[in-house]
């Protein structure tokens, strides 16, 4: 910096200093300082009027009255007042100094957040989190601080967490810090399950990784093994399907496993102490678990089938829900059969070295205790009444009814997407389904407009609009702008066996 600039900067600093010094607050401060110093100084020069062993005495007229002599009576008081005043001013000065360095107490939160932001700029996440954690006492020390009133400490943590949540919902590493607060709350009052459940809900709203929230629930469950609400809530974490299709099966499995545990315990409880509330809860959970089991993969189809059967046959269950359960039962039963046949095909391949020519020889093998309906040619039928599809070249087994059901859903989704296409193209439908596919891929390319679970479930993650779940290209009517389904995909025909279940056949 040039010398002139340095001089100018020094002058500016000096001017700022004097501007501050001449501020009225400073003037008052200096006046008070002068008065107090004056009092202290004056007390040093005042003559002390005190009897040899007694209180201060007033000078008599004969001795010659003077201000100094009169004030001498109050010498000690004057000295004390001066000293107290100086000490008070000293405190004021020090307080200002501290405030300048640290800021006011009320601003501590803001400063803390600013410091954390600064730290986050050049340190890794772990270090920032550690700094944040320093703000919260450890569980053990909280127990001591609260003099053993740990329940009260848990209340404090719960209220603190609410304050923190409400200040700005998704800011910073809120999940990590909240998780820590909730875990300490759990440490302080392990049996406050209501708060633990609410805490889990807050955490699940903050964090897309539901396994992390599940771990919190597991901690709470370990402390409250008899509680049924906690595993139920842990299961509910996984009911809403994730955007990532790869995770969907695992989410459904987790939900089924949690709900199955709750169901087993609820049923035992119901045997011991029957109650209408528990009975209703069991039915609702069975219904939900049955449906989720259909999404969970081969190991879970039988669980789903049994639960859905129970719901479909329950005359006290609401009719609409019974009907839905019966339809889902057809799907579950068909999936069970297809899975067993697939396993039999694999066993045959392992034994004979090739896939069987058809499924007829395998039917006896899988029969076991299960009745497998056969058509006039001896081919197995799925619960919908369609022959099981089999490809001898690849050994793939599939239920036609299940595929038809998926095709109905997928056709509905594609027709909705054609509607979207029309809206974007002055009412014109796409020329072919490839054009629709290009449009759909572009439409859902924005990170703010990802395809939802309903769309990806029907079309797959690649948003395939050209091949139907039946394995054939869609029958697309370009003139009408819609896809048509084969006759056997007509819902009234497809679900005709559901009616028989409801009627009791």
């Amino acid at each position: 910096m040039p010398k002139e600039a340095q001089e100018l900067a020094a002058k500016v600093v000096e001017a700022a200093y004097w501007a501050e010094v001449t501020n009225w607050q400073f003037r008052l401060y200096y006046i008070a300082f002068a008065v107090c110093s004056g009092l202290l100084l004056a007390s040093c020069f005042l003559p002390e009027r005190r009897a040899p062993s007694g209180p201060a005495i007033a000078p008599s007229r004969e001795e010659g009255w003077s201000w100094g002599a009169w004030l001498g009576r109050f010498r000690r008081q004057i000295a004390s007042a001066g000293l107290i005043g100086l000490l008070a001013l000293c405190c004021v000065s020090l307080q200002n100094n501290l405030d300048d360095r640290r800021g006011f107490i009320a601003d501590q939160d803001k400063r803390y957040e600013e410091a954390i932001r600064k730290l986050a700029a050049h340190k890794d996440k772990e270090e920032v989190l550690r700094a944040e954690y320093l703000y919260l006492p450890e569980g053990n020390s909280l127990a001591y601080i609260s003099l053993g009133n740990t329940s009260l400490a848990a209340d404090y943590l719960w209220l603190t967490s609410q304050q923190y949540v409400s200040s700005s919902f998704r800011r910073g590493h809120k999940f990590e810090l909240l998780l820590r607060i909730y875990e300490e709350m759990l440490e302080m009052d392990p049996h406050w399950t209501e708060a633990a459940i609410n805490a889990g809900k807050v955490l699940s709203a903050l964090e897309p990784d539901r396994y992390a929230v599940e771990r919190f629930y597991i901690k709470a469950i370990l402390k409250n093994p008899d509680n049924l609400d906690l595993p139920y809530e842990a299961g509910r974490l996984f009911v809403v399907p994730p955007l990532d299709l790869a995770l969907r099966k695992d989410y459904s499995r987790r939900a089924v496993e949690w709900f199955s545990e709750v169901l087993a315990r609820l049923q035992k409880l119901q045997e011991r102490r029957p109650s209408e509330r528990n009975s209703q809860k069991i039915k609702a959970i069975q219904d939900m678990t049955g449906r989720l089991a259909l999404e969970s993969g081969p190991g879970y189809y039988e669980v789903g089938r049994d639960m859905l059967w129970g719901r479909a046959k329950d005359k006290q269950f609401p009719p609409a829900m019974r009907s839905a359960a019966a339809r889902d039962f057809l799907c579950a039963d068909s999936l069970v059969l297809a899975t067993r046949l697939q396993e039999a095909v694999a066993r045959h391949k392992a034994a004979a070295g090739s896939f069987p020519a058809d499924l007829r020889p395998l039917v006896k093998e899988i029969k076991g205790g299960q009745r497998v309906p056969l058509d006039s040619n001896g081919m197995p039928l799925d619960a919908y009444g369609f022959p099981i599809r089999y490809d001898p070249a690849t050994g793939a087994v599939a239920s036609m009814g299940v595929q038809a059901r998926r095709a109905i859903v997928a056709a509905s989704v594609i027709n909705s997407l054609i509607g979207l296409y029309r809206d974007a193209h002055n009412g014109e439908p796409p020329k072919d389904l490839q054009e629709l596919h290009d449009f759909v891929v572009e439409f859902y390319s924005s990170p703010y407009n990802r395809a939802g679970p309903a769309v990806t479930d029907a079309l797959g993650m690649d948003l395939n609009t050209t091949i139907s779940p039946l394995g054939t290209p869609w029958d697309y009517d370009a003139h009408a702008g819609k896809v048509n389904l084969p006759d056997f995909c007509d819902p009234s025909m497809l679900f005709r066996n559901a009616g028989k279940i409801l009627e009791g056949d």
Binding site: Y144, L147, N149, L159, Q162, D189, A195, N198
Partner: protein, 261 residues
């Protein structure tokens, strides 16, 4: 018959003390405020209300024990009224016992008053009220009997200010005696004898945490259960408290007996 007379007089003297009313008013205020804190919370309103209420009763009954208990004997000495009592056919132990029982009666009345207000308030606010709360309040009273005995012990040998300081320390430290064991665990490897010594110290210190069943009580109340802890546990804690209080009173008697009045 001298003990009940002294006890009754001590009770009369204590209820005339303004500090008792100040503490009671603060206790009641704290109980009332608990509802407002519960409102702030999302969920668990009744739990927070019960927690705060029980803790307020505990804290304020503790303060009554300390502030009134520590001044009782000194006041008699200071006003020289003790001479007129001891001049009559009254032993020093009778004087101490009377003082202690009088203060215990005062505490009981104060506690019953606070408990009645607390329970009525809970009921009025629709929070669950069960017998488990009675268990917590009973143990609270037993804890205060121990604290009062500590106050009488210090008061029989020291000035009111020093007694209040020492009793407050015992009151707080008594909640955290487990700390001593934790401290001992640090020395487990280097100085095993230290660990044993600290464990011995822990056993002799008044463990006031034995009387803290507030967490269990709140849990039981929220689950609408009538027992926070089993009866045998309750009895064990009560007998422990009464035995400890009696032992402290005996030590206080020894000190008071030697005191030159």
């Amino acid at each position: 018959m001298i003990v009940p007379v002294i006890a009754l007089n001590t009770f009369r003297e204590a209820v005339r003390d303004r500090i008792l009313y100040v503490l009671l008013v603060f206790g009641v205020l704290m109980i009332m405020v608990s509802r407002a804190i519960g409102w702030v919370s999302f969920g668990g309103e009744n739990k927070i209300m019960t927690d705060l209420g029980l803790s307020a009763i505990w804290m304020f009954s503790g303060m009554v024990s300390i502030f009134i208990g520590t001044g009782l004997i000194h006041k008699e000495i200071d006003k020289r009224t003790i001479y007129s009592i001891l001049a009559k056919p009254a032993e020093r132990w009778q004087f101490l016992a009377g003082k202690y029982l009088g203060l215990a009666l005062t505490l009981l009345i104060a506690l019953l008053l606070l408990a009645a207000i607390f329970l009525a308030y809970l009921w009025f606010c629709g929070a669950p009220v069960t017998l488990a709360l009675g268990q917590a309040l009973l143990l609270n009273f037993v804890e205060m009997l121990v604290v009062t005995a500590v106050a009488i012990l210090f008061s029989s040998a020291s000035t009111p200010i020093m007694s209040a300081i020492f009793t407050t320390i015992v009151f707080f430290a008594g909640q955290l005696t487990k700390w001593v064991v934790d401290l001992g665990a640090i020395y487990k490897q280097t100085h095993p004898w230290m660990e044993k010594l600290l464990h011995l110290v822990y056993l002799f210190l008044p463990n006031l945490h034995n009387f803290n069943i507030r967490r269990e009580t709140v849990l039981a109340t929220q689950s609408r259960l009538h027992m926070a802890i089993p009866v045998d546990e309750l009895m064990a804690a009560t007998i422990y408290g009464l035995s400890y209080a009696l032992a402290l009173l005996l030590v206080a008697h020894l000190l008071f007996k030697r005191r030159n009045l």
